[in-house]
Amino acid sequence: MYNIFLIILSFLFLLYFLFKSEWLLLVAGLGQIVMISFFSIKSGHLFITNLVELSFFLTGLLSIRLVFFNSHLPKEFRYYINGIIVFFDIYLFFIIGNMDFGGVTKFYSIWFIIYIISYLIMFSSLVINMANIFQIFFSRNILLEQSMDSEFKISFFFMNVVIVMRMICEYFMSGEYWSWNNQEIWLLILLMVMSCYFFLQKSVWQILFKIVIIILSFFISVFVYLNLL
């Protein structure tokens, strides 16, 4: 039942390529998030605590970000991201049969949900920035660095929220603020790599370094995302 609804909503992403209306993205994105919420409530586990829900929430969040995305970039920019969403959704439907739908978290609090959502916002900003980088290389328009900067600031802020929320979760679960487990170390590595972005200025070489930091952050965050729960 839920799968059919999710397939219909994902189909809306494909329709966007034909009709080019942002309303389709908004409906599909919000619909996915609402469906996932209903699914978690009905299953009786904590919201977005398995990889399937997490992934559908991410694609929903990305599409909403696209609708309200205000930048100097051309409109084609939305197609790249939408392409990624469609590709990701198709991949999800292929693996959905083999995946566990239960809640798999060891944390059980509202702070954990904030932590997950903050991470997904951070991750979606990095995905948008990756598309931004492709655009910079294709159009060779270095002025797009401005929109790269503003998007990176969003991801850096939410990375800090992730760290603070992780500390709160850890305190309520173990009595320590930081327990140096692998997940926390990778979050710290990610924060340190991202913080290096703000040392760089506006020369061409430094912008190239910024691009390297974004790509590196993206790959680290993919690794963290797969081990987030």
Partner: protein, 299 residues
């Protein structure tokens, strides 16, 4: 000039810390030295011990690197301390570090074991200075909820008329102290007497009573007898029969069945509210600095 040098050093030290952290995730922590030689080649093990990667998170290298990074961060940002927002941001960051340090070293942390059906005097454990009424927590029962391959232990406690639920996924707070479920074991419980003194013993646990070292191996229900290892000798203890071992008289009084032994961690919650407020202020000021634009990018 000093700012350029400190910024350069800051980048170098962040790079070093990231490299060390990365390698530390590849090395299992706090194992016996021999196990590292089995896992890695001797050349790699040499470097693991040289850089303390076997216990990196509490090593001097980690603390020095983190300390230097924080110091250089403050040094490179000194120029911006004239601006109130930057000054507040660094001060909040500094206070958060100080409070976490105080919490780690000055807030009480106690580990206690409690058996199903028994009570603990909470006031005595937390050692209150004020004279107040005793607060007893009775460990009523323990349940294991298995779902999706994960086991969740749920302990039910009675405090006065209230029933408190302490789960492995959820801690509880009592009078400024937070209780966490650390681990649980299901053990067989036996009552034995040594020279007319009664003791409760758990199965598979080694006990030292004076000169006697006792390990209960097995209870045979059909014969009503206990198999135990006493001072490295295997001895059978029939029910209510005195047995003499190394000048001591041991008697197996009864089998009390299987019960859960729960380990609870109790942590004092001092400064927690203050830390929450500082955490929110930190995020708020970071948002302010990032949206403000030009100054933030140069720090």
């Amino acid at each position: 000039m000093y700012r350029k040098v400190s910024l350069f050093l800051l980048k170098v030290f962040i790079f070093l810390e990231v490299i060390f952290l990365f390698f530390s995730t590849l090395v299992p922590q706090n194992l016996n030295q021999e196990l590292y030689y089995k896992m890695f080649s001797s050349n790699i093990v040499k470097y693991i011990f040289l850089f303390q990667l076997n216990n990196y998170y509490s090593s001097k290298i980690n603390f020095v690197l983190l300390g230097v990074i924080i110091f250089l961060l403050i040094l490179s940002g000194l120029k911006y301390f004239k601006k109130l927002s930057f000054f507040l941001f660094f001060m909040i960051f500094f206070f958060i570090v100080i409070i976490i340090f105080f919490d780690r070293f000055y807030n009480r942390r106690v580990l206690i074991n409690v058996v199903e059906g028994n009570s603990i005097n909470f006031s005595k454990i937390i050692n209150r200075t004020k004279k107040i009424d005793d607060c007893y927590l009775k460990f009523l029962k323990f349940e294991i909820k298995s779902s999706e391959g994960y086991k969740e232990g749920i302990a039910f406690f009675q405090k006065g008329k209230d029933t408190l639920i302490l789960s492995s996924k959820k801690s509880i707070s009592i009078d400024g102290y937070r209780l966490y479920q650390k681990e649980f074991k299901k053990l067989e419980i036996f009552r034995i007497a040594i020279d007319s003194n009664d003791f409760l013993c758990f199965g598979d646990t080694l006990y030292q009573f004076g000169k006697l070292r006792i390990l209960v191996n097995k209870y045979i229900n059909t014969d009503k007898k206990l198999l135990a290892t006493i001072n490295n000798k295997e001895i059978e203890l029939p029910l209510n029969t005195d047995i003499s071992v190394d000048d001591s008289r041991i008697k197996f009084i009864g089998y009390e069945g299987e019960k859960y032994l729960l380990q609870i961690k109790i942590v004092q919650e001092r400064f927690l509210d203050f830390l929450f407020i500082l955490g929110y202020l930190y995020l708020f000021l970071l948002l302010f600095l990032l949206t403000k634009g030009t100054e933030a990018r140069n720090v």
